[in-house]
């Protein structure tokens, strides 16, 4: 079964539980309905957490693949990914609640964690000593921030990014795909 089918089946199961909760309300009264609703809510939460965890693992494996990219991976003289950049990007992915929609290696040898939704786009570019954060809502003004990469170890700083990322998405975003550039070793 494909991932999208799995998601649909799981979502359908949660909806079914919500429907039975509604039926319980109509047929048996409030206490039973509350119990059924709580069960449905827990299912949603469990489902979301399991998907988040799977997506996080997937991203970490992609970042490990980027670690192996050699110099000139694009044929235009791109730089290999520095170990410390990959380690820091992995550490960020481990701690973010709103995972990127894409992970993009930049020819300069940096890693870009991107969030792109119909509401706008933002990214966090992890460099060796400097990071860039950029956010732009559709039709709005762009925002940019530059800081020393060590700041990315600061949970409060990550919270700031999450806030801006969440502002772009109506709901917590799930990854829509990871762009993985193939290259010749």
């Amino acid at each position: 079964m494909s991932a999208s089918n799995t998601v649909r089946v799981r979502t359908d199961a949660v909806l079914l539980q919500a429907r039975s909760a509604f039926s319980a309300l109509m047929e048996t009264g409030i206490p039973e309905a509350i119990s059924a609703f709580c069960y449905a809510q827990n299912s949603v939460s469990e489902f979301y957490n399991s998907q988040l965890s799977a997506a996080r693992e997937h991203y970490e494996s992609i970042l490990e693949e980027l670690r192996d990219m050699p110099d000139n991976w694009d044929g235009y003289g791109a730089v290999h990914m520095h170990e410390r950049i990959i380690d820091r990007a992995k550490s960020v992915v481990e701690r973010l609640n709103t995972l990127p929609t894409d992970i993009v290696p930049h020819p300069a040898g940096t890693v870009m964690l991107e969030w792109e939704t119909p509401q706008g786009r933002c990214y966090l570019e992890v460099g060796l000593t400097v990071y860039n954060f950029y956010a732009k809502r559709r039709g709005g003004e762009a925002f940019a921030h530059v800081g020393p990469s060590e700041q990315l170890d600061d949970l409060e700083k990550l919270g700031e990014f999450s806030k801006r990322v969440r502002a772009l998405a109506k709901y917590p975003s799930m990854p829509t795909g990871v762009t993985n550039i193939t290259y010749v070793k």
Binding site: G75, A78, H106, T110, G127, V130, N132
Partner: protein
């Protein structure tokens, strides 16, 4: 026709600028052309390479792409087209650089990236993204249906018009395969 007459200097705003699309660098895992990759400037330079598509024929652009750009690591697949006016409108500039080959131009971002580093100031980040987003929004992709053929085998190269003036909304390449 002399080279000077054929390739006037500077680039005029209505000109079509053509950039070769290369696999795998400009494509995602689903083998779809990926605009953001196509216009990323490399580290240590503030420019990317392109060609003067209004002055070169589509066949000549293909010849340049296959001869001067394609190698064992990057395979030519087609072209991105963008009008010179669009490039200027987003804050970048385009200059003829015929030393590389006849009809070659460089699109300048005005921002140089360092090896293994992000950009140094918020202003640079804003400028770089304004250019990148502007270029990717304005660019159109044309696939070459037979990359092994000597001639261009895709749809006639056209460009979306950003320039003010009375020219038509699309400018076709100097010659097409029709």
């Amino acid at each position: 026709m002399t080279s000077l007459m054929r390739f006037p200097d500077p680039v005029i705003e209505h000109e079509m600028i053509v950039r070769a699309a290369l696999d795998p660098y400009h494509f995602n895992t689903r083998k779809k052309p990926h605009r953001k990759y196509a216009f990323h400037a490399p580290w240590g330079a503030d420019s990317i390479s392109a060609m003067r598509g209004s002055l070169l024929t589509a066949d000549e652009c293909k010849y340049n792409a296959v001869t001067h750009i394609q190698d064992s690591q990057r395979v030519y697949k087609g072209f991105w087209t963008i009008q010179a006016a669009c490039i200027q409108k987003v804050g970048a500039s385009v200059f003829p650089t015929p030393a590389d080959y006849e009809g070659h131009v460089s699109i300048h971002y005005g921002v140089v990236r360092r090896r293994h580093e992000g950009l140094d100031t918020p202003d640079e980040v804003l400028r770089y993204n304004a250019v990148l987003e502007g270029l990717t929004d304005a660019a159109q992709y044309f696939e070459d249906e037979d990359c092994s053929a000597k001639e261009w085998k895709g749809l006639p190269l056209t460009v979306q018009c950003c320039a003010e003036g009375s020219l038509p909304n699309t400018i076709e390449s100097a010659t097409t395969n029709e």
